[in-house]
Every structure is written in structure tokens, then in C-alpha cells.
Amino acid sequence: MPADYLPILFFAVVAVVLSAIAVLMPALFGPKRPTSVKLAPYESGKLPIGPARRRFSIQYYLYAVLFILFDVEIVFLFPWAVVFRDLAPRWLGLAEAAVFVLILLLGLAYVWKKGGLEWE
């Protein structure tokens, strides 16, 4: 029921307002004495060698892509898990889910074999 979400909305509003106050508050209180050194990027106290934003190692993104695949699949499993006890016969539901999970794991095995999980 949508009305069930109303308290959560209140809660979210309170949380967000509090966070916003916290983030914006020091602009009112703190001193402001900027210098060029203070405003420089921190790289162990020395001038940075080139910019930080470069084309970066693909490995981090591979995990992200894999995550999206698996996460979408897992969402499908939630309804199954909720009604599992009511399935008749249950073993059929189990078998179906097992096939589904197996396909997922095959995908994982493929990535594994391709070296997609290795860091180089």
C-alpha cells in the first residue's frame, strides 16, 4: 500500500534535511583564509604529476559490468524465494531455480576461464 511508505518518506526527508544542513553549515561558521597551497590537490605534498582523470585500468569496470548482469538475475530470484514454500510441487521449483542459477554460474565460469577475474 502506498500509505505504508509515508513514514519512510518522512524519515527520508528528515535524513536528507539533516545531511544538507550538515554539509552547508560550515559555510556560516568557519573562517575563510584560502591560499593557493591549501587549494591544491594533495599528492603527498608535492606537485601532482599530470591530472588524476585518465583512461583507467579496465579491471574495475569489468566488475561493474559483471555486477549488473548478476544483480538483475538475482532480482528475479527474490519472488521465487518468497513463494517457494507455496510452490507445488516444491522440487519442480527447486529444479527450475537450479537450472537458472546454473546458467548464471556457467556465465561466471566463462568469465573465470577468460581471465576476467584476474588482475593484471
Partner: protein, 578 residues
């Protein structure tokens, strides 16, 4: 066969002269056009070769008065080689003429010569032809002059007041900006941009002011370029203006965790020059204090190493133990970290009443703690996963790069100066030299942990067998001399007065003395011109070659591994930069 005869027979006139030194190390002057062949022969030609480039330094000879038959030279480059198979050293000297001489590099013979030659260039202005990157290493690149040359001022007051206006600060910062191209590093790979990252000097993982510029692909280290010198204080230059006696406190601050382990090689070298033989009590007191400081240094290493791999608690426990140890040091010497307590010809005072109880308590206290740390740190599976197989080098690589101390013993070579060349009476003690086989971060730790136990054994023997006798040698150059003698006749009174007010006059000569310090071999190569100061004092610090080697064992690993490696190498930046 004697190495000097062997070289004479083989190279004939290329061996220009042989020099007498107080330390007995064969010192051969070799013609400038042949010295590379001689060094190559020493490294791999002779049987039982001199495989390690132990030290490489230079001497500005232009103001030296007492050279006793040495060939004419404005500058001398000194190569100090060590043979493990012979347990023998040899020193090769090359005379150079001219104000800014040029000589050949030996970086192709020993990769470890790289930093040493840069240091000599930086300090003396001697150019090494064929060096891959002859840049300043300890001084800022904007520095004018070469500090260890005799014409370079030794005191700040000789240089005019120091000012740092904004423009100068910006210029200096700009000069410290790293340019990958200068080091032959690519900015782009086939399909990625490499990130160049300053790791340090202000970084929690570098144990002090060390900068390592990393070339990263993701988090994988493709290459690393250490940049040292942020902790450089010019200790070698200070030795030329302090008296032999007043330089002792400066030695404490070389490896600032080692305390009297720094005093020891210095006073031993001076005593070798002066021909002082110290009483047995002095020897045993020195051994005991040295071993206490070895434990203190290893405890700091132990805790910080665990901290480096992310374990928060051990460092607090180990520093607490170290404080207990410092309580003993304080009771005996009055100081804690830097007691400056050894003297030329002895130690500063006799042991105080009750010292034995304190030491006994500590001997009972530490072993159970160490046992607990074995479980807490060394036995922890994550700790093992982080350190085993990481940062490994072989024995050959270790020798090639000049690694000494626990880092060498972790590769399986049982080499410890305390056993191989006993000094200060170590031959009278029973202890083992722990070794390990794989040469990785974990094995270096294994060696150090066991060394602490062996040190406790040595301390116990000191405690049980402390000889009676004087705490200072009965020698005119003992500084300060024994007080009770001064009131008897005018001669000893004058000697005392001069020794204290002016400083002892150490006879002209050269001597090197190396000991097994906590981080590796620390050695002092002292040259006296018959004055109250050292004419030249060379500090052979173990951390310098160890840091030089870090890129070799870091390539292909990740940033966390580099931090583990730095922790396992156990260096002190003051020891690297001096």
C-alpha cells in the same frame, strides 16, 4: 693467493701503488684507464670473487697534507669490495686530476653503483661517463656547488642568512616536479594512460620523508623511482668540522632507531686509527647496549611492519615493550633514543648500581611477549598471505645490490659480522645467526624475530659474565681521559685539558670499521689528516642500497605490496640520506 699480489701479477703497471691503512684492508691505487678491468676481474675473474660492491665514495684530496706516498690526486674515487667466500675486503682507489674530473661509470658492472655514483657526483662534482642518469640524489636539483668539496662551506653562517620568498618556494617545488620522460618512462600504454603517483614524501606508508614516484597501470606498479634526500643533513660534512669526540652525538641520529649501534662502528674506527685497545668490561658493556638497541630497533620494525599490512594493535604493544627497554637504557645512560654514550676508548660512565636487576627483569619479560606476537602477527593467515612470496629476491640479486643484514640472511646466506669478523668481543658469546630461505617479506620478518631472541641470549651472557675493570681505556687519546689521573702530574693535566677543550688529535691514517647494525652493515670509513677533525668521514649506511633495490622487487606488484616491501626492508630515512 694474496689479492694484491694476484692483481700485481695480472695487471702489472696498472696497479700504481699499494697503500698502508690502519684497518689492514688491502688498498690498491689503480690507473684510471685500467680500473674497470681490475674491478671486473675482482668481481668475476678471480676465484672466490669479491662479489659485492660494498661501498663507493670519493675523497677531496686537495687540502690533505699527510698522504705518505700515495699517488698525486685532486680527487680519489674509492671502491670498497667485499668477498663472502674469502671473508675479505679489498679497496680500489682511482686518482683523478682536475677541479671537476671525469671518470668512467661502473653501473654496467654493478647496478648498485648507480646511486653511489650519483651521490659522488652530487657531493664532489665528479662526472661518471656512461652513467644512465647522473642527477643529484641527496641535494635539491637547484643546489649550487657540491657540498663535500673542501671549498664548500660547512656552516650555515658561512652562507648568509636563509630566506624563502614565495617565488623561491615555487621554483623549488617546480624543480621537484617529476618528469617521466627524463627517466625514460612512457606516459601512455597501448590502451591505457599510465598514472604517475607521488607516494611520499608526506605519506603514511613510507616511514618518513621518502618519495617514490610510481608508474601505475590501475594499481599495478610498472616502475618505481625512489627520490631520496629529504632527510639529508650532511652528517659526513659535519664530521669534518666537529672534533672526533663531538661527532659522536651526530652518529646516533644516522639510524635514529639504532642508538648506540651507530656509536659503535664510529668509536671502533677511531680506536683503530688511534690504536686504542679497550678493557674487557668496555667490550661487554658495549655489546650489551648494542644488543638492547638491536631489540629496540627490531621492535619498532615489528610493530610498524604489522601496521603496514593493516594490523592496528601490535605497534602499540611493541612500542610499550620498547619503552620498558628504554627505561633500562635511561637508567644506564641517562638518554633514551639517542644516548650518545660510547666514547673513544670506552663508555661515558660505569654501569650504575642495580643495572643488573633491570636487565634481568627485561630478560624475563620479553620472551613471553615475543611468543604472543608470534601468534598475533607471524602466525596470522592474512599476514602470511600479504607477505609470503611478496618482494622476494635471490641471494645473487641481494649480493649484486649490496644488501646486508637480515635482508641478506633471509636469502639463506649465514653472514653476520658478529660471527664472521667478531668485534668488541663477540667471539666470546654463544648465539646463532638465524637465516631463512625464500628472501621474501615474510622471511625477512622471520629472521628479525629470531634475532631478537638471540640478542636476549647475548644480553643474558653479558649479565652473567660482566667483567670487572675500568670503563675506559688507559690511553692518552681516550676522550675524555680518566679524571683521577689528571691531578697527579702536569703532563696528564695538559693532555686532559687539550683533549677536552680542543679535542683529541688522532694520528694520520685511514680506517674502516663495519659492524652488524640492526638494519644491516653500518660502517665508518674515517680519514685523519693528523688533526682534531676527521679529514673525511664516510658513513656506509645499510638503508641506502636497500632502498635503491626497492624498484627491482616491486615491479609488477601492487601498491599494497610496495607498502609491505617497504615495511619488510626496515629502513630509516635518516640512514638513507645521512
Amino acid at each position: 693467493m694474496d689479492i694484491s699480489r694476484e692483481l700485481r701479477e695480472r695487471f702489472g703497471p696498472a696497479i700504481v701503488a699499494e697503500q698502508e691503512t690502519r684497518d689492514g684492508i688491502p688498498t690498491l691505487w689503480v690507473a684510471q684507464d685500467r680500473f674497470r678491468q681490475v674491478l671486473a676481474y675482482l668481481k668475476s675473474g678471480t676465484d672466490r670473487p669479491y662479489a659485492m660492491l660494498y661501498d663507493l665514495t670519493a675523497i677531496d684530496e686537495r687540502a690533505r697534507t699527510q698522504r705518505k706516498g700515495q699517488p698525486a690526486a685532486d680527487f680519489t674515487v674509492v671502491y670498497h669490495l667485499l668477498s663472502f667466500t674469502r671473508n675479505h675486503d679489498v679497496r680500489v682507489k682511482v686518482a683523478l686530476a682536475g677541479a671537476y674530473p671525469v671518470t668512467a661509470s661502473i653501473t654496467d658492472l654493478w647496478p648498485a653503483a648507480n646511486w653511489y655514483e650519483r651521490e659522488v657526483w652530487d657531493m664532489f662534482g665528479i662526472t661518471f661517463e656512461g652513467h644512465p642518469h647522473l642527477a643529484r640524489i641527496l641535494m635539491p636539483s637547484t643546489w649550487e656547488g657540491h657540498p663535500l668539496r673542501k671549498e664548500h662551506p660547512a656552516r650555515g653562517t658561512e652562507m648568509g642568512p636563509f630566506r624563502l620568498p614565495v617565488e623561491k618556494q615555487e621554483r623549488e617545488e617546480e624543480a621537484l616536479l617529476f618528469h617521466p620522460e627524463e627517466w625514460g618512462l612512457e606516459r601512455h600504454g597501448e590502451d591505457t594512460d599510465f598514472v604517475f603517483l607521488n607516494l611520499g614524501p608526506q605519506h603514511p606508508g613510507t616511514h618518513g620523508l621518502l618519495r617514490i614516484v610510481l608508474q601505475l597501470d590501475g594499481e599495478v606498479i610498472l616502475d618505481a623511482v625512489p627520490d631520496i634526500g629529504y632527510h639529508h643533513r650532511g652528517a659526513e660534512k659535519m664530521a669534518e668540522r666537529q672534533t672526533w669526540h663531538t661527532f659522536i652525538p651526530y652518529t646516533d641520529r644516522i639510524d635514529y632507531l639504532g642508538g648506540v649501534l651507530n656509536n659503535l662502528p664510529y668509536v671502533l674506527a677511531v680506536e683503530t686509527l688511534a690504536g686504542i685497545e679497550v678493557p674487557d668490561r668496555v667490550k661487554v658493556i658495549r655489546v650489551m647496549m648494542a644488543e638492547l638497541f638491536r631489540i629496540a630497533s627490531h621492535l619498532v620494525w615489528y610493530g610498524t611492519f604489522a601496521q603496514d599490512v593493516g594490523q592496528l594493535t601490535p605497534v602499540f604493544l611493541m612500542f610499550t615493550d620498547r619503552e620498558r627497554l628504554f627505561d633500562i637504557v635511561e637508567a644506564i645512560t641517562g638518554g633514551r633514543m639517542h644516548p650518545s654514550w660510547f666514547r673513544i676508548g670506552g663508555v661515558a660512565q660505569d654501569l650504575p648500581r642495580g643495572w643488573d636487576g633491570l636487565v634481568r627483569d627485561f630478560l624475563d619479560y620479553l620472551p613471553p611477549r615475543l611468543k604472543e606476537y608470534d601468534k598475533l602477527v607471524m602466525g596470522n593467515p592474512i599476514f602470511k598471505a600479504r607477505t609470503q612470496g611478496i618482494g622476494a629476491y635471490t641471494l645473487e640479486e641481494a649480493v649484486e645490490w649490496g644488501v646486508t643484514g637480515p635482508g641478506l640472511r633471509a636469502c639463506g646466506l649465514e653472514w653476520d659480522f658478529r660471527k664472521k669478523r667478531p668485534y668488541s668481543g663477540y667471539e666470546g658469546f654463544e648465539f646463532e645467526v638465524p637465516t631463512a630461505q625464500r628472501g621474501d617479506c615474510y622471511d625477512r620478518a622471520v629472521v628479525r624475530v629470531e634475532e631478537m631472541r638471540q640478542s636476549l641470549r647475548i644480553i643474558e651472557q653479558c649479565l652473567d659474565n660482566m667483567p670487572a675493570g675500568q670503563y675506559k681505556a688507559d690511553h692518552p687519546l681516550t676522550t675524555p681521559p680518566r679524571k683521577e689521573r689528571t691531578m697527579h702530574d702536569i703532563e696528564t693535566l695538559i693532555a686532559h685539558f687539550l683533549g677536552v677543550s680542543w679535542g683529541p688529535v688522532i694520528p694520520a691514517g685511514e680506517a674502516f670499521f663495519g659492524i652488524e647494525a640492526s638494519k644491516g652493515n653500518t660502517g665508518y670509513y674515517l680519514i685523519s689528516d693528523g688533526g682534531i677533525h676527521a679529514y673525511r668521514a664516510r658513513i656506509r649506511a645499510p638503508s641506502f642500497p636497500h632502498i635503491q633495490m626497492v624498484p627491482e622487487i616491486s615491479r609488477g606488484l601492487m601498491v599494497p605490496d610496495l607498502i609491505a616491501i617497504l615495511g619488510s626492508v626496515d629502513f630509516v630515512l635518516a640512514d638513507v640520506d645521512r
